[in-house]
Symmetry: C2
Subunit: 268 residues, 2 copies
Amino acid sequence: MHDTVIPFDDRGFAYGDGLFETVLVRDGEPLLWEAHMERLARGCVRLGFVGPERAMLDTLPAQAGQGLHVLKLVVTRGRGGRGYLPPADPQPSLRWQFSAFAPHQERWREGIRVRLCRLRLAIQPCLAGLKHLNRLENVLARQEWNDPDIAEGLLCDSAGRLVEATCMNLFWQRDGRWETPRLDACGVAGTLRAALLAERPIAEVAMDTDELAGVDALWLGNSVQGVWPVARLDDAEGNTVARWPITAIHRPLQNAGHALLGYPGLAD
Amino acid sequence: MHDTVIPFDDRGFAYGDGLFETVLVRDGEPLLWEAHMERLARGCVRLGFVGPERAMLDTLPAQAGQGLHVLKLVVTRGRGGRGYLPPADPQPSLRWQFSAFAPHQERWREGIRVRLCRLRLAIQPCLAGLKHLNRLENVLARQEWNDPDIAEGLLCDSAGRLVEATCMNLFWQRDGRWETPRLDACGVAGTLRAALLAERPIAEVAMDTDELAGVDALWLGNSVQGVWPVARLDDAEGNTVARWPITAIHRPLQNAGHALLGYPGLAD
């Protein structure tokens, strides 16, 4: 059932014991719906409960009506007593909300400025890849800057390997190849990333942060904003450590991503 | 304000962006209240928001009335839009609930059986020690067994060092000294642990899991249950790897903890 309020003893509130998805919906049609449903199902298996019926979930996007919306849906293990032990027969909850949405189109064209975050993501293979509700690391990382000219912050793990941005996945081109960080230690495996990996030659690799300035092109992407090319990279002290002119090299990956989301291609 | 329901856009629900405390309250008088308030205040500083007024918090325990209760209080950063960036002027929320409570007294006397968990806690110094709302690791660890004869599961971090149990802190005696794990990499710094450290000679140390079977006595403790001596330790496969007869060696630490909580001492 859809409730806009959550009981105090919902385990999503008590422990972050649940998962969420943010889905781009155009005129009631969801984009990358299968990828969202797959990640949600994978998350339920990993957390150890049976999620809501797929047939129920499938009815949600059409409720958005005309225009561009983001559907945020939250699935939790439901209500539970005090204590970490889940109820023997949990009744998972499903709640959702639509927000009208417009992507940052100027960022598609002109690119963005990003910074490296100080916070390092903890290595936890049991939760890696999931879009679960334990997001304090992302919240802390996003608080590291408030300059509106900086669009995103890049995160590495405690071993110094690049992982993601606070709410986007990371892609780069090096030696003529497209690459993206492996996400088996931490990070959220985005649905746009999954769809691009399925149809394009993109290698999942381990790369240390200090190699980043040497790549030929760098992008951030997710399933609601599309793909942003990175024009400038600052370190955590605010010093610019790399600049990339936004050129034709950036457009093929952007256009591949935008085709998956129904966004316009970029000519440049 | 106290609400028993939480709005969908509360950041506690969305991201686990908050903290909690579980406080033992006897006849309206809280136990270890200063330690709970100190940890809560430290958590608010670490997460970067101003928590509820202390004067407001101080009014809560008396609402319990007569008898033994647990007061669970949850403080979150309050409502926020979609996205990890906190609002510029957050309005933190405070919610609470009382539950009638009775400790497991037979465990004080007879001791408990525990197991080692397979899950390893991720190393995240930014969140270490806090009782924050991102508790999926504890939930996953607690799901590893359902044998009611096993009272708790012991957790080590990804480097193999002992940290805590799923909802209790860990103490042991070795070479005549009391020790407890350091909690600068992960784990929750319990209030009973803090109070014992403040008044007794207990060393905070790093110890690998495989040294555990060699200690002279082992205990688990928290601020609601008191202190349980450990009689038997199983590994994650269910094989018993150590047994400790419950004797007079266990009573001094138990009695020190119980004095802090108003629980009876143990003679044995």
